[in-house]
């Protein structure tokens, strides 16, 4: 049986059918090494059990119905041994996996910030300079990229197999994903979380470009206003400035230099101002009111799109960055 399978896979290799995915991100190789380690352990123990079962079945087959095999009650030593060895191996897997997971989940602070909005059934991507893409993502080789993602409807999942990364994209909150592409080329982008009728059509291509090609692409793609400019326009359009930029007597707190800061709430709790808190404060302003202010802000639920909120956030971030503060 196994021989048949191996023959089949050997034939596939000869035919050029891939059995190893492309590898195009900074973490892909490390994750593959861990995968190979796990494969090695799996093959070893599968082969061990298969051959023991097979060997015992043949070696100790019943030769005569009157055979009386001696009972064996067990062996504490063996039980300890075959608990301890798997335990040791799985702990190696745990620490190795957790270490890489920490890397996969911790974006570097200098990453380029892109925004992703998922909806049934497409991916909408905004670049900071204002370029927008649908079901396509252009990124440069060698530069870390951070995606801040949300969904307009159900749960989706942003998956680039060649980068070995995936993150669910949820309605009502932001999730993050980061990577550094290492090889120019085009790679699959899949939605990995079942999201309805055209789930398998919620796909696209990630195009990794050499830095010079990327600059050419950026300047060639229609940009219009940048995200910050669009956010600033929305800020005026929705009259945010009337309360938030009215000096010491304003009805709302100042939005300058707030990102990454802890603020005290009217309830006595504290929160760190991040993208999620800003989003919540636009849509449910009375949920977490800053201490010293009345809960008078109306909700903007239904008035600003998810993409608009991301533009506003990009603008608010610029109010912190412009004054020389590090991004959170």
């Amino acid at each position: 049986m196994d021989t048949l399978i191996h023959l089949a896979f050997w034939a596939m290799l000869q035919q050029g059918v891939p059995i190893v995915p492309e590898r195009a991100s900074s973490v892909a190789k490390q994750i593959d090494y861990l995968y190979y380690f796990l494969t090695g352990v799996t093959l070893f123990f599968s082969a061990l059990i298969f051959s023991l079962v097979f060997y015992f079945a043949v070696r100790y087959r019943q030769r005569h119905p009157d055979e009386r095999p001696q009972p064996i009650h067990g062996s504490l030593g063996l039980e300890v041994l075959w608990s301890a060895i798997p335990l040791g191996l799985t702990m190696v897997m745990f620490f190795w996996g957790a270490h890489l997971f920490y890397i996969v989940r911790t974006p570097p602070s200098d990453a380029t910030q892109l925004y992703v909005v998922g909806k049934q059934w497409m991916w909408k991507i905004q670049h900071p300079e204002g370029q927008r893409e649908i079901n396509a993502l252009h990124v440069p080789v060698g530069r870390p990229v951070k995606l801040t993602m949300t969904s307009e409807d159900v749960i989706h999942s942003f998956y680039i197999p060649a980068f070995r990364i995936k993150m669910d994209v949820l309605p009502g909150r932001y999730t993050e994903l980061w990577f550094t592409a290492t090889k120019a080329g085009t790679y699959h982008l899949f939605c990995a979380e079942y999201c309805g009728a055209k789930h398998s059509g919620m796909i696209g291509w990630v195009t990794v470009l050499e830095p010079a090609d990327y600059e050419a692409w950026l300047s060639g793609a229609p940009a219009g206003e940048s995200l910050e400019q669009a956010g600033a326009r929305l800020f005026r359009q929705h009259n945010c400035h009337t309360c938030h930029e009215a000096g010491p007597t304003s009805r709302g707190p100042s939005l300058h230099e707030i990102l990454g800061k802890q603020v005290r709430l009217a309830s006595g709790e504290t929160v760190v101002v991040d993208e999620g808190y800003l989003r919540e404060s636009i849509l449910q302003p009375n949920a977490k009111v800053v201490a010293g202010y009345e809960s008078v802000m109306p909700t903007y639920q239904g008035q600003i799109s998810e993409e608009g909120i991301l533009q506003l956030i990009a603008y608010l971030k610029s109010l912190t960055r412009a004054e020389g503060k590090a991004q959170p």
Partner: protein, 543 residues
């Protein structure tokens, strides 16, 4: 090889099958053995139904383009395959049939503690099944068997409510069966049958019952909340209504991960019985096999978050769930080593149940080991929601649970029906199933590593070769499942009488006639020895 078959057995004159005739004698029976057969009939129907959906899925995936069905139809196919196979076949499979039949017989009791509640649980199962059948016939449901919100609670336009009500109702049948088993095992053991003389099948069912009672209410609550949000727009899971979509995943997996152990633990119990019988040897390390069932049941409740490593769950929560998931792998490994060691210096026979058991040991080992890829955080990020996961859980649920179920059906068929099936056909089909299974699901591991997401109606063309292999395997598998269905039916009429103990097995159920009388034993048996004393008095060997 069939040394165990005695010549010219007679069927007993009166037994539980012929004591009464007519439809009423079945629909109002309180005999645990007849109720087991009611379940056997129902779950076989659902297995065939679930198999038809699987066939449709594999046919669609023969080609990369989504050309056989509409996307909506395909999504309903895999949803209903999952719902039917998990809730209506795998979860009740061994406990409700073999468990129902054997738990009282193995402990020397006349029946379960609450025979009427036992019948009630079959009616509840049937009612849940009818709701689900109604959902299927009235257009189907497309949420995936996992019912993830807010898709299920807000966006899906299909028959979510009928399906949810069906699964909700079904849960009560599990809970009642679990209670019945636990109370029966505590209170109704024959004189002399102490806890450490119990067959391991009983330990496995005890552990399973604990999960059924503790876990099922949680999934019932989760499904009820989906219903509330869907019908009355109460914001529980949908963020647009102020809810939290990830909360549903916590509630759902709090049950549905332990539910995997509901499916596999009874199978493990079956394998312990079969391996001992056909190696003619005591189990190696009885107490380790027994307590590993309990360990799996308890640890199984602490690992649900490994389904959610990329769900936005915190990184550190992911680490805790990862390490706990590795811990639950250890008792499973201990079982595999002990079964293998039981064959050492045994007197191994290759009867059909033993072939299934050996298949189980191999396939469950592969299923368990590939689970480590998914407990490991960094590799799970890549493999989550791909065909790797599909392959992994089919190795556990089909290669493991279903192989154990078929092995058990073959092992106890002579006891249930009083007749023998054609051994050659049984061995042949076991082999076919093993080959077909591997060809179906092994390529899916590679598909997953390559990055093919699950639940895809259409897929990129470079994945086609592996999908064709998988579909080819599925067609072999279908033949493998059809053969036993035919010869088991055939044997009911034409099979030679089995006699009380065709395998010369130990265990109280083999001490009474086949089929047994309604009250199982003419007089209550007294137990004076440990389980699996194949040759009492033989001097034990030390390792």
């Amino acid at each position: 090889m069939n040394a165990a078959r005695p010549a010219a057995n007679q069927m007993p004159k009166v037994h539980y099958l012929n004591v009464d005739y007519g439809i009423r004698s079945w629909l109002f029976t309180i005999d645990h053995k007849r109720i087991a057969l009611l379940y056997l009939g129902s779950i076989t129907l659902f297995f065939v139904l679930g198999g038809l959906f699987a066939t449709a899925i594999r046919l669609e995936l023969l080609t990369p383009a989504g050309d056989l069905f509409e996307s909506e139809t395909y999504n309903k196919m895999f949803t209903m395959h999952g719902v039917v196979m998990i809730f209506f076949f795998l979860i009740p499979s061994i406990p409700a049939t073999l468990g129902n039949f054997l738990v009282p017989m193995m402990i020397g009791a006349r029946d379960l503690a609450f025979p009427r509640i036992n019948l009630l649980s079959w009616y509840i199962y049937t009612l849940g099944g009818l709701f689900t059948l109604f959902a299927i016939l009235s257009g189907g449901v497309d949420t995936g068997w996992t019912f993830y919100t807010p898709y299920s609670s807000t966006y899906s336009n299909t028959n979510v409510m009928a399906t949810a009500v069906g699964v909700f109702i079904l849960g009560f049948s599990s809970i009642l069966t679990g209670f019945n088993f636990i109370i029966t095992i505590h209170k109704m053991r024959a004189p002399g049958l102490t806890w450490f003389r119990l067959p391991l099948f009983i330990w496995a069912h005890y552990a399973t019952s604990v999960i059924m009672i503790l876990g099922t209410p949680v999934v019932a609550i989760a499904i009820a909340l989906v219903g509330l949000e869907r019908l009355f727009h109460i914001g529980i899971f949908n963020p647009a209504l102020g809810g939290d979509p990830v909360l549903f995943q916590h509630l759902f997996w709090f049950y549905s991960h332990p539910a995997v152990y509901i499916m596999i633990l009874p199978s493990m119990g079956v394998i312990s019985e079969i391996v001992c019988c056909f190696s003619r040897k005591k189990i190696f390390g009885y107490s380790f096999v027994a307590f590993s069932s309990i360990a799996i049941a308890l640890l199984g409740f602490l690992v649900w978050g490994h389904h959610m490593f990329v769900s936005s769950q915190s990184m550190y929560a992911g680490m805790v769930f990862s390490i706990l998931s590795f811990l639950v792998a250890i008792p499973s490994a201990v079982k595999v080593f002990n079964w293998t060691a039981t064959m050492y210096k045994g007197s191994v026979m290759y009867n059909a149940p033993m072939l299934y058991a050996m298949g189980f040991i191999g396939l469950f080992t592969m299923g368990g080991l590939t689970g480590l890829f998914l407990s490991t955080l960094a590799t799970d990020v890549h493999l989550h929601d791909t065909y790797f996961v599909v392959a992994h859980f089919h190795y556990i649920m089909v290669g493991g649970a279903l192989m154990g179920y078929l092995g058990g059906i073959h092992f106890w068929w002579p006891k249930i029906s009083g007749r023998l099936y054609p051994e050659a056909w049984a061995r042949f089909s076991a082999l076919i199933i093993f080959v077909g299974f591997n060809l179906t699901f092994f390529p899916q591991f590679i598909l997953g590593y390559l990055g093919m997401p699950r639940r895809y109606h259409a897929y990129p063309p470079e994945f086609q070769v592996l999908n064709v292999m998988s579909t080819a395997g599925a067609s072999i598998l279908a033949v493998g499942y059809a053969i036993p269905l035919i010869y088991l039916f055939w044997s009911l009429r034409y099979g030679p009488a089995a006699g009380p103990n065709p395998w010369q097995a130990k265990g109280l159920e083999w001490q009474t006639s086949s089929p047994p009388p309604t009250h199982n034993f003419p007089e209550t048996p007294v137990v004076t020895e440990e389980a699996y004393e194949y040759y009492p008095g033989a001097e034990a060997e030390r390792v």
